[in-house]
Amino acid sequence: MPKTLLLVGTRKGAFLLESDADRRDWNLRGPYCEAWQVYHAVHDAVTGAIYAAAASEWHGSAVWRSNDLGETWTHSSEGISYGEDSERKISKASTLAARNGRVLVGVEAPGIFESKDGGETFSLLTTLAGQPGSEAWDDPANQPPGHLGISAIAFDKENDSRFWAIVQGVGLFETTDDATSWTPRNRGLRADWPRPHEEVGFCVHKVVRSDDKRLYQQNHVGMHRSDDDGHTWTEITEGLPTEFGFAAAAHPHDRDTFYVVPLAPLHGRTMPDGKATVWQTKDAGSSWKPLRKGLPQEGAHLGVLREAMAIDTYDVPGLYFGTSTGQLFASNDEGGSWSAIASYLPPISSVEVAILD
């Protein structure tokens, strides 16, 4: 029987939760990574390794890895540096993507490092230099508190040389030649602020791939969908309670079904009216339905960050989201009903799920 593994990054280390394919009872382990702040933890399905992008206020940034499902851990930052003479400093390892033993690490100040030896050593892959306005990305005046730099990296499903990267507060970029060149993919997105460059200046929070051509995006201002691989975007916010949110998940077997967690905009950034709700579309964003069964509906002022929702690939997929106050909710029926599977974790940054045969 397959095992279901949840990887949870928190402000005080990484946690793992295990269940079987029924996904009803969960066993919690952790904290790992010496309780460093873990921004994102992922699992490489091919090698079985777990990686965690982390930063310590005292000891800097590193990528932790475990080759035995969390029993033992080691860490490395070898090569994760812009150099002794560079003015660019790395404040954190923000995000990860692992594929076939190759690990990509997004960092702040914005750049992507790669490891080809299972996370033992790293080298600089790209800074996306030359993109419009990139000379100003490091200006502190352009960086919000907690700036992540590269806030997400997403591989194409088939082609390892093709992936997308989000530069926080700048936009989405695509490479098809393994980061040799990049193209902004932000056409059609909304931005309610002046932008000096037509192609960039968008606040892309989360992008998920639905199928070969379709992408969904939760933006600072609105939900969007692309049916042409990110070349153009159409807003699909209508019907949602707010335009703001971070987390998003695409159904693995139905290209029209997609999940999002709208949050109050401005500085609150918690679920509206204190009612914990995941919203679902089953028609590619033409209409939206609230999913609330089993979620707290009173006094639940919960926030969910951009990497803190995941969906598995079972025939009936399970959904998972973690909150910035340490609750972890799970559904084993596509969001139809929910239960809290951990209630007292540190603030949750990321949730990923893996199915282990």
Binding site: E34, E57, G60, S76
Partner: protein, 87 residues
């Protein structure tokens, strides 16, 4: 030999690294480089590119605040402190 004391946040990161050890070095930076030789990766945990000590890593030599360039005497006591911060 300098008498080197390390913070408790550091030792779990490197198997076999003790909280206290004797080390032969001419400067604080030299002592950390010697630690790096024995426990690869340790330099990054205490120093930033430049190099300089990380913001919240403080070093004292015989109770005086020190930098990487601070010289060590044969019987110097070196305290590496993870400064109290955060929550």
């Amino acid at each position: 030999m300098a008498d080197l004391h390390l913070p408790g946040t550091l030792t779990p990161l490197f198997p076999g690294l003790p909280r206290r050890l004797d080390i032969e070095a001419a400067t604080v930076g030299g002592a950390i480089e010697e630690l790096e030789r024995r426990w690869p990766g340790l330099f990054d945990r205490l120093c930033e590119p430049g190099p300089s000590l990380r913001t919240h890593i403080h070093v004292y030599v015989d109770r005086e605040r020190a930098s990487l360039a601070t010289p060590l005497e044969a019987r110097s006591r070196v305290d590496v402190i993870a400064a109290i911060s955060g929550g």
